[in-house]
Subunit: 137 residues, 6 copies
Amino acid sequence: MVYITRREIFNAAHRLFMEEWSDQQNLEVFGKCSNPLWHGHNYILYITIKGELDPQTGYLMDLRILSSIINDKIISKVDHKNINLEVEFMKGKIPSAENFAINIWNELNAELLKHNCALHCVKLCETENNYVEYFGK
Amino acid sequence: MVYITRREIFNAAHRLFMEEWSDQQNLEVFGKCSNPLWHGHNYILYITIKGELDPQTGYLMDLRILSSIINDKIISKVDHKNINLEVEFMKGKIPSAENFAINIWNELNAELLKHNCALHCVKLCETENNYVEYFGK
Amino acid sequence: MVYITRREIFNAAHRLFMEEWSDQQNLEVFGKCSNPLWHGHNYILYITIKGELDPQTGYLMDLRILSSIINDKIISKVDHKNINLEVEFMKGKIPSAENFAINIWNELNAELLKHNCALHCVKLCETENNYVEYFGK
Amino acid sequence: MVYITRREIFNAAHRLFMEEWSDQQNLEVFGKCSNPLWHGHNYILYITIKGELDPQTGYLMDLRILSSIINDKIISKVDHKNINLEVEFMKGKIPSAENFAINIWNELNAELLKHNCALHCVKLCETENNYVEYFGK
Amino acid sequence: MVYITRREIFNAAHRLFMEEWSDQQNLEVFGKCSNPLWHGHNYILYITIKGELDPQTGYLMDLRILSSIINDKIISKVDHKNINLEVEFMKGKIPSAENFAINIWNELNAELLKHNCALHCVKLCETENNYVEYFGK
Amino acid sequence: MVYITRREIFNAAHRLFMEEWSDQQNLEVFGKCSNPLWHGHNYILYITIKGELDPQTGYLMDLRILSSIINDKIISKVDHKNINLEVEFMKGKIPSAENFAINIWNELNAELLKHNCALHCVKLCETENNYVEYFGK
């Protein structure tokens, strides 16, 4: 069993808030992250898959294919976007790094299974001081 | 003459666009950066000042003071903000990294002169692949 | 189950040595790290906690709270300090990175349990080439 | 149980290809990485070992010894070398990052056991966007 | 006057040697870098241009255009290549980082002038410990 | 004219204080950095030299020679040392990053002139947020 990881980056705007709460309540729970006029991040995404090597090629999976799946399913939908308003798979969900990582897992997992590859970890870095990891359970 | 640099970080949302242009025209010139629903960045700001050492303390300037000036004049006004809509010193200006760096210079310069310190460089990193430097002329 | 990590940094002096050994014996076992006049590091500390998301907020734990616990229990006690002489929870212990990480775990763990959060990993980087991880068992 | 990691770096040339395939076939499977005139990388290698602390020294293992084993068994054999042509333990194997990491594990493992240290992970970074991890099974 | 920098990365193989010297002489002058079977690097290239802002767009130059020029004139010719054997603009020149940076300058400069942009600096990082800067004179 | 830079790292302890001042006065001016029981840093040192290429070798200077000069004149004297008490060239000087960089310049400059190389810049990073540059005048 070998684990390979591909790094991809994207930039996006978001806001942490509960629609049913007042701006004041949101400010108390989410602080600056609830700014009604948005803020944003350079997100760094690490996708780790696991499996057996192809004995011929020495590859677990061609990283160009992994990169193209991540770009197709995730990056093209979130890069330079507003996560609250424009990302279908985050609709109605608070775009905390935790929720975001879990939903990226859900988007990628089905597609990777078609390539006989098991998703192992989604790691999402929001700032140089904070990151989230999700292993699917 | 010695040069000292302080690094500070902040997160913000912005959009590159000309109000008098259509969304289509803005898209042609600014690409994804003109997304009407915003995107954002983790900005990294490097402020370099220059001058002679204080022969007693061996300091050009106490970096806690430099950091507190940068936080007071810049970070507190831009962190977790929308640069187009909420930052007084960027009002009416396209928030390209170039324009942003020049206006950060203008905000800081007057204050630093009061401390007998000459601002040397504002370096503003927008992504890991792009940055701007401005030396005041 | 989601894992979130907070990075904090601090600077400190230390020395690796056994009081009952001669300087020569200490030099043989600990090399330069036993210098009787101390040396120091910029330590980087990664604290990872794990748990279920709050279904309302999408948070595992507010990172401002996690950061304030780490600063209260650890950073305020070790930053710009001599680990051998000034850090209560390291008294009588050789401040190897291994021992240091284990004792940081012990300090943090009780406090995090009060917030219903399970500590998962303490990762302590001493130089760009060396780091230690401790998972509590 | 504590985990300590040592980072080492090296530079090398390699080429991904199957001898029995034509250049055209290799190009289809391995892309630019099959260039018959070679390309190369700055590899970053992280070796993680695990075990109990020595209660006296507070060390899992003296990192100077770990570093010297890694240099003796791996770095001296791969640094500034052609992995396909000059590295004995990679002879006849496609030098994908996956295969390379597994074979580094095999080279190191026996030696570390002699020091009563258990190898936990070989992490090999080929570019800033790609890395492989192998845990020995 | 503002300075903007674009970072691009590529991987390549090379060898430092003088054709008219014996392998032994080359080894004495260039050490491991003269290995006849090649070695390689992950190069990091920083291209800095300078000029006045376009008062309308707030751009010195659209970074997508700068990136596409660098990719067209440099990256496409050196990425996953053998610098000694496959790079037209390095033919007959020892591919030291110094020579490589100067020749990248020469390749880019003419093209950038056509876009009314002045090249300011080519910075080429060969390893995390070594880099070269060239300012055109 | 080309500029080449070599990076070297070292760890050391220090304290900022004026002997003739009380601990209280030192605390007011230097804050935590005046802790009488020391603190320390992982210093990163960048040494930049400038000059013409050797037309034969394509080298400004063999970086192994530059590295060995820096190690001989600086690193061996400061690594794992107490800068206030053990570094001859810092005796009687407050080891601020500014003073430290200037004195490293003075130590290196004479030696580099013997190799017909002009020292261009000493850059000394004390933390990830602070660094000093000195150009010799």
